[in-house]
């Protein structure tokens, strides 16, 4: 598969190096494949496909686009599709990328919806779903732990996290209210300092 891309560092990524050209059809097909195969989280599949296999973007761009995707509302998967599609082929690239990545999972869930209505109260289904839901709670918790390790550096960050949980679960604030109020305090707390001592030194 990745014949020319065995070592990611073998070619120095450089803005002057022309990226592999991509047609609208190729973009659609690539995102359709990602949409059909990315079991258990899209990010590694996106990287493997766009950076390693197709070389449409380099690693630096990938990380930057991912950080934009995570800061904006919307799922990483669809935001990445929009950003990469836009970079390759403008708005039409964005459209085919997001349709491609959503289509397989959407069709599958449509079938799940039909099946659930037919067999949802079968004892096997009920028992299986009970296990699936419990496992999903564990899965979300592991995402919380993973993200906290990566993104929370200051002890006050944990206070902001706890405040958000309390606001939504205990005080029953709406999500936008919690986001705006706690978010504003947290952003002001991290106001730009001149020294940037915990940032990388120039």
């Amino acid at each position: 598969m990745g014949n020319a891309a065995v070592g990611p560092t073998s070619q120095v990524p450089d803005a002057a190096v022309p990226i592999a050209p991509a047609s609208i059809w190729e973009i659609f097909l690539e995102f359709l494949i990602i949409g059909a195969t990315s079991f258990g989280g899209v990010v590694p599949y996106l990287r493997g496909s766009l950076v390693t296999k197709r070389q449409w973007i380099d690693d630096k761009e990938f990380v930057e686009m991912l950080s934009i995707s995570q800061s904006l509302p919307g799922l990483n998967a669809t935001n990445m599709a929009v950003l990469v599609g836009e970079k390759l082929r403008g708005w039409l690239g964005s459209v085919v990328a997001i349709v491609g990545i959503c289509l397989p999972g959407g069709a599958l869930m449509y079938a799940v919806g039909l099946f659930y209505h037919l067999h949802g109260d079968h004892p096997w289904t009920t028992a299986g779903l009970k296990g699936v839901a419990a496992a999903a709670v564990g899965l979300i918790l592991s995402t919380v732990v993973g993200l906290s390790k990566k993104a929370l550096s200051h002890k006050f960050d944990f206070a902001f996290m706890a405040a958000t949980v309390l606001a939504v679960n205990r005080l029953h604030w709406s999500v936008p209210r919690a986001l705006l109020l706690v978010g504003a305090v947290a952003i002001l707390f991290h106001y730009p300092r001149n020294s940037e001592k915990d940032d990388k030194d120039q």
Binding site: S38, G41, N76, V112, V132, G138
Partner: protein, 175 residues
């Protein structure tokens, strides 16, 4: 289909709440789709969300099921458009500007400030779901077990959700 405007409104609104991940919108999704519009029950919402974790692609495609139950094929289509359209447009418009703001000092402040809040929203969504999904000792043990395995080993999370289904069938079948 008389649900069309409501579906569009509800899912366009929910779409804007998915900061840091789809789960951030879960508490609000429960209030709107279950309590307010009665498109499905809380148990069903938890079920389809969890099954959705086994599907490939963006992990909130479970919204397709809500749209389908509320308004058939058209309902499903409208739900997807409403849920992914607004944020896609936002990403499209903001991306270029955000890149130009690389030197703007507040950009980093915004990213660092939003991180704990978005993780908090994820956790709040998780607790909302746990209220319905963790019904006793066995389901609690299964959730903690999944968490520990995922923290300890590099394993595809979708496989563990499949394992949850198998364990569920063997453990929770009525005798």
């Amino acid at each position: 289909m008389n649900q069309a405007p409501t579906l569009l409104r509800v899912f366009a609104y929910l779409s804007l709440l998915t900061v840091g991940g789809g789960m951030a919108a879960f508490p609000e999704m429960k209030v709107l789709t279950v309590d307010e519009h009665h498109w499905l029950t809380f148990a069903q919402l938890i079920h389809i969300y969890s099954v959705g974790q086994m599907a490939p692609g963006p992990n909130m495609m479970m919204i397709v099921v809500i749209g389908q139950w509320a308004g058939g094929f058209l309902g499903a289509l409208l739900t997807v458009l409403a849920f992914f359209g607004p944020t896609a447009l936002l990403a499209f418009v903001v991306a270029k500007g955000w890149r130009k703001l690389e030197k703007w000092p507040w950009r980093r402040s915004i990213q660092r400030g939003l991180a704990p809040v978005s993780i908090g929203l994820l956790l709040a969504g998780c607790f909302t779901m746990a209220k319905g999904a963790i019904t006793g000792f066995e389901t609690g043990a299964l959730a903690v077990g999944t968490l520990l395995v995922l923290l300890q080993y590099k394993i595809n999370p979708a496989m563990l959700v499949v394992a949850g289904a198998v364990i569920g069938i063997f453990s929770f079948m009525p005798k």
